[in-house]
């Protein structure tokens, strides 16, 4: 193949679960995911956690037993967040190549950069690869990089660590990377907070294709079952596969072996779709001289908003998060963040939300510039008109507008969505999260048992003085709000013993009591010290 027509690809293996919260955590990390029969299984773990024997694939309970008494953070694996992080990394890689693609699998962990014709600013491909290798540790990632003529070969070389079993001693690989990969043999590189630029690995690009012969068959991106089948026949190296009669491969091991081999060797083209970098949707308006009249500010904002919506409407996109910056002549700029429950391209609605914020903004100086930036844009949702009036459906149509209006005026934390949790302690039997901020909850918890509970629960149980004749017996009378209440009926006790893992051992006997006046209260006795509290 002539040099000028060759397509070089840099395969970059990124970390498993590249969410920023996980990357920057200093503690030992274990990622887990729901497995069969309601159990959880470890997906990945940090190198330090692997020292305790924790391995991907093992049951979470087993991992917890191995790391008993050690401060380990267990995080639910979020493949969606992984994908989003990888997409962000892909966009960052546009610094090195205008053609960047993400691996086409369900849970991708690799990026492909087409570096054909992009090495003009570098002495060689190695220098470009080294530049990429130096770039990722600054973001907190360890990567493995390979330069090859085909996508398949680049992937194989970048993932070759496990297949070579240490045979390629000449390559640049740090000890940290080795340790990390031992916890995730396929592509995992963890412990990002201690990284430095020397901890990335680069494959030698010159000897890419002929090096494939010595690689393990797992480097061909084959399904696990196929790899097991090949191992049964003691075919462990790609070279062994290549030595077999080509026409016999599909009938013996399935069509994928032949396809992957051909893709790695460049006999069959492989197509990947490059990412489309998202253009920033923003509009700004500088003022000379600066303005201070609120009406002018509002008019400018409306004009900027129209400009943004005019960009989005032809693409059938709507704004989901809008950020407005008012630059003052003196002092720091004023930032306004507007969050929406679902994307909107409604001029009037977005204008109303902006006004709700502006009502509360106090400007200390004149405004020199206004910048409006659509941070998150998403495709608009369209609904078909109903032929017959459905009151329920009609109300749901107005629901997002209500949430957005309330959240943008009162703050996200003041407009909450309650969810039930399967926790015996009444205070922990539900969780509230902001409506406009997506929060992933563990959906594998068992449905809670709904028992008679008061409508209002005191945030903190109120201590009361209770008279009870027998020890650990029911209450007879109690004093609350400077009044004496005589108990006429009681129901209980409902014994709750829980919460020891939260550091607070809860041991309560709850009673529903009805006073002689007919009033009902929910009170409990703390069993540790026999003190009584009114809870609702």
């Amino acid at each position: 193949m002539p040099e000028e027509t060759r397509n070089h690809h840099t395969g970059t293996a990124s970390i498993r679960n590249p969410q920023s919260a996980i990357r920057n955590s200093p503690t030992l990390l274990v990622l887990y995911t729901p497995a069969r029969s309601g159990q959880f299984a470890v997906v990945a773990c940090s190198a330090d956690a692997a020292h305790y024997g924790i391995r991907p694939g093992m049951a979470l309970a087993e991992a917890k037993a191995l790391a008993a008494g050690i401060d380990v953070e267990y995080v639910l694996h979020d493949s969606k967040a992984d994908r989003q992080s990888l997409e962000r990394l892909a966009e960052m890689c546009l610094n090195f190549s205008p053609w960047v693609a993400i691996e086409d699998v369900d849970e991708p962990a690799s990026l492909f950069l087409d570096i054909s014709g992009t090495i003009w600013g570098f002495d060689s491909e190695e220098e470009l690869a080294q530049c990429v290798a130096d770039y990722f540790p600054r973001l907190g990632y360890h990567v493995q990089i390979a330069v090859a003529d085909t996508i398949g070969a680049a992937w194989a070389l970048a993932h070759a660590e496990k297949s070579e079993a240490g045979s390629r001693k000449s390559e640049v690989r740090s000890e940290t990377v080795r340790r990390a990969e031992s916890s995730r043999p396929a592509v995992g590189v963890l412990r990002t907070t201690v990284c430095n630029s020397s901890q990335s690995a680069i494959r030698n690009p010159q000897s890419a294709i002929h090096n494939l012969h010595s690689l393990d068959v797992t480097a061909l991106r084959l399904p696990e079952a196929t790899v097991r089948l090949l191992y049964q026949f003691d075919i462990r190296r790609i070279g062994q596969l290549l030595a077999l009669p080509r026409e016999s491969l599909p009938s013996r091991f399935g069509p994928e072996v032949q396809l992957r081999l051909d893709q790695a060797l460049g006999r069959t083209p492989e197509i990947l779709t490059p990412i489309q970098p998202s253009e920033p949707v923003e509009a700004c308006s500088p003022f000379d001289p600066p303005i201070s009249d609120r009406r002018w500010i509002e008019a400018s904002l409306e004009e900027l908003l129209s400009r943004i919506l005019n960009q989005l409407k032809p693409r059938q996109l709507g704004v989901q998060r809008l950020h407005c910056t008012l630059c003052q002549t003196v002092g720091s700029p004023i930032s306004i963040a507007i969050g929406l429950l679902q994307p909107s391209a409604s001029d009037s609605h977005l204008r109303e939300l902006l006004h709700l914020h502006l009502e509360r903004v106090q400007t200390n100086a004149e405004i020199s510039e206004i910048v409006l930036h659509a941070e998150v844009v998403r495709p608009l949702e369209f609904h078909q008109e109903q032929l017959y009036r459905d009151p329920g459906a009609e109300r749901s149509r107005y629901f997002p507008a209500l949430i957005e209006r309330l959240s943008n005026r009162l703050g996200n934390v003041a407009v909450l969505r309650p969810r039930l949790l399967a926790d015996a302690q009444p205070e922990h039997a539900f969780h509230c999260s902001p409506w406009v901020v997506e929060e992933k909850l563990d959906s594998n918890t068992a449905p809670p048992v709904l028992l008679p509970r008061p409508v209002c629960l005191h945030k903190k149980p109120v201590a009361i003085a209770v008279m009870s004749i027998v020890p650990e017996g029911p209450p007879l009378r109690f004093e609350w709000e400077e009044r004496d209440h005589v108990v006429c009926h009681y129901w209980g006790p409902e014994r709750i013993e829980t919460g020891w893992w939260r550091g607070e051992d809860i041991q309560r006997d709850y009673y529903w009591v009805e006073t002689t006046m007919g009033r009902r209260f929910w009170i409990f006795r703390r069993r540790q010290d026999e003190t009584w509290f009114l809870h609702g």
């Binding site: 109300r395 629901f399 209002c456």
Partner: protein
């Protein structure tokens, strides 16, 4: 022309007012029966969308659970349930236990009383919420009028829990009820409450009923009255 007495004039005016109110309600929106004992008190046999109901009672009196059960009945047609809970005391599992879907429940926790009124007005006016529940303290007459218009505009039921100390204040609520706790006999299936009607627009005023809140069916039903004893009177002498 026959000269009407003062009492007859007042009764006549009351009757005409009641008729006007009923006509206004009929033109305003649809009425939905709650299938509870409250229906017997309401002029149209159910709650008209856009109605404000005040339930007066203190902690432990049962006003909150009574209001929540009425709200749960009205939420059967769909729509959001908005709880304006400035004191962060509302307990969602209880609502879930009454069959209210938390998927459509919005807890609003405003920081001050001004924000409470703003949130209430927005929720009532939104057309997204079917029922809005809130604890309401002292409220200015004009602000209350705004809430009433918002509820009518949004076809929403407003349920306001108020302390008994506010029952003498002027109000724009259509239904004003004082909830008195009643002792439940051991044979009772649930909790008993006495509902004193302060005012029902277009309906009877100053009447009292006794209801039972059954836990098994989440029902609010009238307590059956026992017939008088039929022991024959003994004549002496």
């Amino acid at each position: 022309m026959e000269r009407l007495t003062r009492r007859q004039t007042i009764l006549d005016l009351k009757e005409r007012l009641s008729r006007f109110e009923r006509e206004t309600q009929a033109s305003r929106g649809t009425t939905m029966p709650t299938d509870t004992a409250l229906d017997a008190l309401l002029p149209d046999g159910g709650i008209t969308w856009g109605t404000l109901i005040e339930c007066f009672g203190d902690d432990g009196d049962g006003a909150d659970i009574f209001a929540l059960r009425i709200g749960a009945r009205m939420l059967r047609t769909g729509g959001a349930f908005v709880v304006v809970d400035a004191r962060s005391e509302f307990y969602p599992p209880t609502a879930a236990g009454l069959g209210i879907s938390l998927e459509h429940t919005v807890l609003v926790r405003p920081a001050n009383s001004r924000a409470v009124l703003w949130a209430l007005e927005q929720a009532l006016r939104s057309r997204a919420a079917s029922v809005v529940l809130a604890k309401l303290g002292a409220i200015h007459d004009r602000a209350y009028r705004r809430l009433k218009l918002a509820a009518e505009s949004g076809d929403c039921l407003g349920l306001f829990l108020r302390s008994v100390e506010y029952q003498a204040e002027p109000s724009w609520a259509d239904v004003r009820l004082v909830i008195h706790p009643a002792l439940s006999p051991p044979s009772a299936l649930g909790r008993r409450l006495q509902i004193e009607v302060l005012q029902i627009r277009g309906g009877p005023s100053r009447s009292t009923i006794e209801v039972e809140l059954t836990d098994e069916t989440n029902d609010v039903r009238l307590v059956p009255r026992l017939a008088r004893a039929t022991t024959p009177r003994l004549r002496v002498g």
